[in-house]
């Protein structure tokens, strides 16, 4: 194996390390720990976090790219050969899922193809019938065994998952019990009944649910096409899982691009006022008066022109798709910083009149120090809220943009591309619905989890915004 880092990989890992550094920093500061404890008390938020974490693990696995080593050719000793195609650690984990490509469409859990073909029988006659799939259910000799086989494998997968889940959860519960009370049975019962400091019942149920779903899928996916196959026979379940990385990268890297613009411009405008304020206000009013989608379309077209005219700079399809994804994040970021900038400017204007800032100025503290030491920490909660709120909107926007062909590269797996390529299939008779449904279901789960988590974060970090009910 020869590891390689794509540009988005570097940024994505950088972001994860930064998030880790923030967690370590926040753990030592009571005023930062308090709102997160508030988030942890919200059982919706912890359940959503568990779902998001599952997605994140898949995305991280899918971000470790390498060139696989090819088998040794006889007589060519000692020299390693590598494939020209980049694959990720995730592809290795799912193993056969990637290579089990059928001829064309097949329904979920189908044993036979979706359309009839002429099959040559052994005695030389030929009939038109649905041919058996090459991989989906290929281990079965009779079609009637399918139901029982699926049930058996699903049950096995679920039991394995529960066993692994218990191995992880029981030590944590035990540690928790040791920490708070001595009696282990008592503590466990109180945790499960929701009497502990952090309500454990709902997240425990949700993580168990996730474990069972993952276990069942892992048990079934090598033998059946859980979500069927698409037009060229690629497993839809595999495509959906690969799309998770695309969605997460767009949702997070865009914010990374947007934040410096919004924070720097917002604070300088609000703090210095005067002509700086005028210029920055003019800048964001102008940018926000252009309909966002048109600006994105224009920028994407221009990127297209650049890529066509500099085709030789992109060494492989993967690198090209990756750079296009990064460019999309940059474009989305540059067009979407205006909203946050306006909010931050307002907050900075309010802050600069506060006593502690005035005191700092009276002591002769330089402007940059005032901004860095006193302003930035006091607007960070707004930034945090905006990061989590924007995430789900960006995931949804990707699908829409890919539909107009200004989104991610057509060769890259993404939910938008899946929907785009599957939208004509609804006109077929009988209907090919599984690609669309798989993409929508996964998007729904991710966005719903992100929304629930974002609401909890917003309530915890900005109590003034909390809805009175």
């Amino acid at each position: 194996m020869k590891f390689t880092l794509l540009t988005t990989d570097v940024l994505f890992f950088g972001l994860i390390i930064a998030a880790g550094a923030y967690a370590w920093y926040a753990a030592g500061k009571e005023h930062l720990r308090a709102p997160w404890r508030e988030v942890a008390k919200n059982s919706f938020a912890t359940s959503a976090a568990a779902v998001l974490l599952t997605f994140l693990i898949i995305a991280i696995l899918d971000s470790v790219h390498f060139y696989p080593r090819l088998d040794q050719v006889a007589g060519d000793r000692g020299k390693a050969h590598y494939a020209t195609e980049v694959i990720s650690l995730f592809d290795r984990v799912v193993g056969r899922l990637r290579s089990q490509v059928e001829k064309t469409y097949s329904a979920p859990f189908a044993l036979t193809a979706f359309s009839k073909e002429t099959i040559e029988l052994q005695d030389g006659r030929s009939v038109r019938d649905y041919p058996r799939l090459r991989y989906g259910g290929a281990h079965l000799s009779e079609a009637c065994e399918r139901g029982l086989d699926i049930a058996r494998r699903a049950l096995g997968g679920a039991l394995w998952a529960i066993a692994i889940w218990l191995c992880i959860v029981l030590p944590i519960l035990y540690w928790h019990a040791r920490r708070w009370t001595r009696a282990w049975a008592l503590a466990t019962r109180s945790e499960i009944n929701g009497g502990g400091l952090i309500p454990f019942r709902v997240p425990l149920a949700v993580t168990a649910g996730i474990a069972v779903v993952v276990g069942v899928c892992a048990a079934l996916a090598p033998y059946y096409h859980i979500f069927g196959t698409d037009k060229v026979g690629i497993d839809v379940f595999y495509q959906t899982l690969k799309s998770i990385r695309t969605g997460l990268i767009i949702g997070t890297l865009t914010t990374l691009v947007m934040l410096p613009f919004a924070i720097v411009m917002g604070i300088t405008a609000g703090y210095f006022r005067g002509w700086i304020d005028d210029v920055i206000q003019y800048l964001y009013t102008t940018l926000s008066s252009i309909p966002g989608v048109l600006l994105i379309a224009a920028a994407a077209l221009i990127l297209e022109v650049y890529m066509v005219n500099h085709a030789d700079e992109f060494t492989s399809l993967v690198v090209r798709a990756d750079l296009r994804l990064l460019a999309l994040c940059v474009i989305l970021g540059v067009t979407s910083w205006t909203g946050l900038c306006r909010v931050l400017r307002g907050e900075a204007m309010k802050l600069r009149e506060m006593d502690f800032i005035e005191a700092a100025r009276a002591f002769g503290v330089p402007h940059t120090t005032i901004i860095l030491r006193h302003m930035v920490p006091n607007i960070m909660h707004i930034v945090m809220i905006s990061i989590v709120l924007d995430f789900s909107a960006l995931v949804l926007a990707e699908a829409v943009l890919s539909y107009i062909n200004i989104g991610v590269d057509p060769t890259m797996e993404s939910w938008g591309n899946m929907i785009n390529s599957a939208r004509l299939e609804l006109a077929r008779e009988p209907v090919v619905w599984w690609s669309l449904l798989a993409a929508f279901v996964f998007m729904f789960i991710l966005v719903l989890a992100a929304n629930l988590f974002a609401d909890a974060v917003r309530d915890a970090f900005d109590p003034r915004l909390r809805v009175i009910s």
């Binding site: 989608v293 005219n309 107009i404 729904f444 966005v447």
Partner: protein
């Protein structure tokens, strides 16, 4: 009031100039007309003559912003900037890259767009506010909780799903309305119903949640307590007092919706085959027609600025305390 409007319009001019400069830089400086010609004519086998001809046909053979060879005012006017950007201010959109008159196309395609956008906007606002008031009426009960849960779930569903699902369910399974198409006049109502319903349902979740928050904020204010103390029924309090006082935040929310109406119509029109401005823009994006895209960017910004102005003026109508200083 009139002086305020004049001032606001005057303030819009530098913004429009800014928009124009941004589009000019994006379309002509970052990408030279030469690149555009190559993209349209194909990459490898194109001759320099063909490129020059393509540029000359569209007027892209002029210098960018300063024509040193011309005399007098023509130094400025015989340039790409003047011909393709400054002229937009006079709503003279020129010709598309395929040679059609953009101004005429826009005037033709405006009406189908409005036929969708106006019902979506008006009916959608009425439905959303009514539902939000009902939810606010039942605040603190199970109905409220489940309504909010439904809203959050609806917000997590992609807008594409509403369109595709609506087309599939209503058009294909139930055969109630045609899946796509358009016809002017009342005969065409059957084509409009589905896109309008889909447009409204798609924004329902976010809308109800947003207006519910606004109403709940108002409900805790003193004048509501006074109204209740007077013995008014809860319904009268909500529908008369709270609704009228919540109009200012509602109007502010409407401005947020207006640009997304533009975005929404883009996808909706493409899916339902409506020959409006949205599908015009999508076609332009897919055919890589920069002239149309430039005109639409300008038109979109003008509409946005107009909408902002209208909102500010409507503030005075709903709240006499707001004055223009």
């Amino acid at each position: 009031m009139i002086s305020y409007i004049v001032r606001r319009v005057a303030y819009a001019i530098p913004i429009l100039i800014g928009v124009n400069v941004i589009t000019f830089v994006l379309f002509f400086v970052v990408n030279s007309p030469e690149d555009m010609a190559r993209l349209h004519l194909g990459q490898r086998r194109v001759t320099q003559d063909a490129i020059e001809k393509w540029k000359a046909d569209r007027g892209y053979d002029r210098p960018l912003i300063w024509n040193a060879e011309a005399h007098g005012l023509k130094k400025f006017s015989e340039t790409i900037f003047f011909h393709n950007s400054v002229r937009l201010f006079m709503f003279d959109f020129g010709q598309s890259d395929s040679g059609r008159d953009i101004g005429y196309d826009i005037s033709q395609r405006m009406w189908p767009s409005l036929a969708i956008a106006i019902p979506v906007f008006a009916v959608g606002l009425a439905v959303t506010i009514t539902l939000a008031l009902i939810v606010a009426f039942f605040r603190g009960t199970y109905i409220d909780t489940w309504a909010v849960v439904t809203c959050v779930a609806m917000m997590a569903i992609s807008s594409l799903f509403y369109i595709i699902g609506g087309q599939f369910l209503v058009g294909k399974l139930l055969h109630l309305v045609p899946i796509s198409g358009f016809e002017p006049g009342f005969v065409g109502a059957k084509f409009i119903v589905l896109p309008v319903v889909v447009g409204i349902v798609g924004s329902l979740g976010g809308g109800i949640r947003w207006y519910r928050t606004i109403f709940l904020e108002e409900i805790n204010k003193d004048y509501v307590r006074t109204a209740r103390a007077k013995g008014l029924s809860e319904r009268a309090v909500l529908y008369v007092h709270v609704l009228r006082n919540a109009l200012i935040p509602i109007l502010t929310g409407v401005v947020v919706v207006l640009p997304s109406l533009f975005l929404g119509s883009l996808i909706t029109e493409a899916f339902f085959g409506i020959p409006g401005l949205g599908s015009y823009t999508i076609d332009a994006i897919q055919r890589q027609d920069f002239a149309i895209l430039r005109s639409m960017v300008f038109l979109g910004s003008v509409l946005y600025i107009l909408a902002l102005l209208l909102t500010d003026i409507s503030y005075t109508i709903v709240d006499p305390r707001v004055r223009f200083e």
